[in-house]
Subunit: 310 residues, 2 copies
């Protein structure tokens, strides 16, 4: 229950970051793509095989220094069911290598439909009496626009299977304020109200480090709101996008953490996957470059928050 | 562009309804399940094959009297990539049979990630210079919590490929009001604000019947708000869940329509898929029972809105 498993990994690696696996085919070196196209043709299957090879090399290069990966479902779905198979295989591989896996699917629905998403991504599916894990991630991002009916169906699986969710609260994009920043009659802004709901939903799913299984997505691109929410949602663990390519830095991200350096995990996707470009290397060096960038990012963040303590 | 293709089909069939394809394995007759388990084992592959057979029989039974189907992504994802392949095959089959396909995925993200979802579900994916349709639905449900950055990436595909989206505005579930009904400082409720945003997003994607390519999900379980939104969002085509199993009737759903009987499509999922139960038939009769129920539902709705005119 809760994000304790993630928190322990963050402590062990002294690294509060997550590597986003949003693999576009353009990011994959020609050598990998050509081998896959030769084997499977210039097809969705060939593309999906290339993404999987790319991801495996990144995971191999990062698994001892980065606690978690976050595959973004959209980049797999665009390659059809073959891409979705690559997502499934990526999750399995990262877990084999000991990483905590957050599927970034921003899923949302109600009742039995949300239970189906919960079973799909965090739990298991019954087939003729057998229980089978369909995707088997450790956490899932979700959208809370539908209210409790969209979140409650996840609670049972979070409790029974030791899984977590991240609810969108204040997202990192320029237009996030169009709805999220509007002020309600009760004085709170929409994102603040969503943060309150996270605190409430997480109440019965508390872990031993003071954080519940109901986390929140709060962007590094809005450091003021990040600090505000850290204060107002003290039991809610944050997934923080917006570091690096989207413009946020360690000085912005630091507001996500509590006094022990806990309470958040900072995501970098393109910054890590495409690190070879910034390092003046060739695309064939993508995995080593990703490791160098992950270590730089870790030092960057630790330099502002200090040692992580349990 | 816009929902004109759907509107024409609704006019031709004189039937403003959509059949939800949310196939749980429990709904599938034993004869289909056993045949699939025999062929593929009691596996995700076997389950997915059973769902596809079930869907095909429903589509065969409905395609000349119901204009559209709405597969709910969650019920396929719970059977892993094998289930997602069944979703893909279901979409292809329904399109072959001339039906308009709405993928109910409630997808949401920003920028290039939302473009990836748009390519996945409505557009096409480039693989080494070839363009391949990954899922190829006609419309997709989306969640607008992230603002314009989550909707704008869909506009291009809607315009170029003649596709549409339905944004969650006022959902049919009991807790939808927790966030959606809160009143903003500007006097509007959150769902109303979302409806305004739909009108704005759809402005450049208008069709010939007065409705844009940016539709909205508004539940039949809140008839007052349904009528309010019909008035306040006159160019926004509605996808209306909540009829039947969720408690809404034709007297509730009628508020979704304009004076010509246009402006909305009413969904029924369980009511159609499990119609044999209410009709005192056996599970083997599910397809014929679904047709009987679809015709009853059509008559039920037409009796309150009259003939549909273009």
């Amino acid at each position: 229950m809760s994000f304790d498993r993630l928190i322990k990994k963050i402590y062990e690696t002294q690294n509060p970051t997550v590597a986003g696996l949003d693999p576009k085919l353009d990011y994959v070196p020609a050598s990998i793509k050509n081998a896959c196209f030769e084997k499977y043709g210039k097809t969705l299957e060939g593309a999906a095989a290339a993404l999987l090879e790319f991801n495996k090399a990144l995971i191999d290069s990062l698994c001892d220094i980065v606690p978690a990966v976050k595959p973004q479902a959209a980049y797999y779905e665009m390659y059809g069911w073959q891409g979705v198979k690559a997502l499934s295989d990526t999750i399995s591989y990262a877990k084999e290598k000991g990483m905590f896996v957050i599927t970034d699917g921003k899923r949302n629905d109600i009742g039995t439909t949300m239970e189906a998403y919960a079973a799909a991504h965090l739990g298991s599916t019954e087939v003729a009496g057998e229980l089978i894990d369909a995707f088997g991630a450790d956490a899932l991002t979700v959208n809370g626009y539908l209210g409790s009916d969209g979140i409650k169906p996840l609670e049972k699986i979070c409790a029974e299977r030791d899984k977590g969710i991240f609810v969108l609260v204040k997202t990192s994009n320029p237009s996030s304020g169009e709805l999220q920043d509007l002020r309600l009659e009760n004085g709170a802004r929409v994102y603040e109200q969503m943060g309150r709901m996270c605190e409430s939903w997480g109440g019965s799913l508390m872990g031993e480090y003071g954080y519940s299984a109901v986390g929140a997505v709060v962007g590094a691109t809005y450091p003021e709101q990040l600090g505000e929410m850290r204060e107002k949602a003290p039991h809610t663990f944050f997934l923080v996008p917006g570091y690096g390519a989207q413009g946020g830095g360690a000085e912005d991200a630091k507001f996500a953490f509590d006094g022990n350096g806990l309470g958040a995990v900072i995501n970098s996707s393109r910054g890590i996957m495409c690190a070879w470009k910034k390092q003046g290397l060739t695309e064939e060096d993508f995995a080593a470059a990703a490791r160098t960038e992950a270590l730089r990012m870790k030092e960057d963040i630790l330099s502002t928050i200090g040692e992580i303590k349990l």
